[in-house]
Symmetry: C2
Subunit: 208 residues, 2 copies
Amino acid sequence: MSAPSQVHNIAPPGKQQEKSAAMRRRICEGAVSCLSARGYHRASIKQVVDAAGVSLGALQHHFPTKDDLVEATAEFLLSRSVRWFQRAKLNINKDKDAFGAMIRRSWREQFTTEEYGALLEILVAARTNETLRKRISPTLKNWRRDIEIELRDLLPANDENADELEAILTIGRCMMTGLLVHDGLLGDELRMRNVVDAWVGLATGSSR
Amino acid sequence: MSAPSQVHNIAPPGKQQEKSAAMRRRICEGAVSCLSARGYHRASIKQVVDAAGVSLGALQHHFPTKDDLVEATAEFLLSRSVRWFQRAKLNINKDKDAFGAMIRRSWREQFTTEEYGALLEILVAARTNETLRKRISPTLKNWRRDIEIELRDLLPANDENADELEAILTIGRCMMTGLLVHDGLLGDELRMRNVVDAWVGLATGSSR
DNA sequence: TATAAAACAATATGATCATATTGTTTTGTC
DNA sequence: GACAAAACAATATGATCATATTGTTTTATA
């Protein structure tokens, strides 16, 4: 039962671990640009290798299967997204229309990006890939929870129903995702911005 | 300038054309089930051939390339969707909450179906496939226009702004699409229904 | 500094992909 | 019923895919 050497396992952040983490980040970034530019079904391991500028062996060492890579990329993207919301919240003027300002800013800086394009590819691919779906579901739930924690108090206090507040946040998130799928395809960016504005109006009840 | 034989081109709907149309429909239906079950990147021509129970040669005769097949499948799905809305509108009680009833029904019978799953795959694939995107964009625009025509007069007459009405319809459509991507993945159907209900509440202003 | 494991690299493999090719049957028109 | 075109069918081809295999270098610990 005694394990005296385990104390060494706690914090030896040697060169190897740093390099390893940097390599994993680099590969995930390559996967992101591949996924967003070419889509899931054309983002091959070979393409990721070329985009990241690493060898196939290196990628395989860190991510033995494609599902491993995609899962890691999803976690990479979702944790970055949470950090974005945490940082963005600090810069928001909480007095007037904090919620609207945050939604509009997240549309610009979160949804209409390469990163979210890659995430969309992963999410849609996971719909028809049970293995992948099971692997990213917990991460996805945590992401949703963490973001809702950040956004919750930006809406005017609603004593009616906590569920309604959560529904509003879900509608916004899903609406912007669908906007990318439907109208992003047609490329009418002005129209999309107007729709986002209209949603902010409805959600904050500015139209009475 | 005289073209006496052209009169024959107007309506010779012989056996061949009927068979051809039936075959195309059959292949598209096979493509739909493949796309929704396996996703775009795993829905190969071979899989479609097996699902539709036709030969590879037959498929190739009607759809020489995969893009041809996918484009035809998109048109097949979108025209069926428009017909659904036209039919559904006839059965709606126009007096009380016609809009909400229609949205809820379309969620059940349009969005949470194999057909919409297939369409979602095509739409997302088109985001990263310029050729496909250009081919289905016109059809997609017509679909949106036709559906908005059907839904427009179900909302309480809004004299404020015609754009706002269009925005509400867009938000609903995009929200339900995003709901499938985000929450459909997690499989919480009750939650999704609640979100749709919450949206109906917001859109029709029942929460004041 | 010896040694084992981690990290990276290059090439090989078998499966699957979209599509080309070639052949056969069915249909419409004269 | 001859004949051309449309419709369908079977097999072939080259590319690309994910991953297996094998070899080399770097790092950490003893």
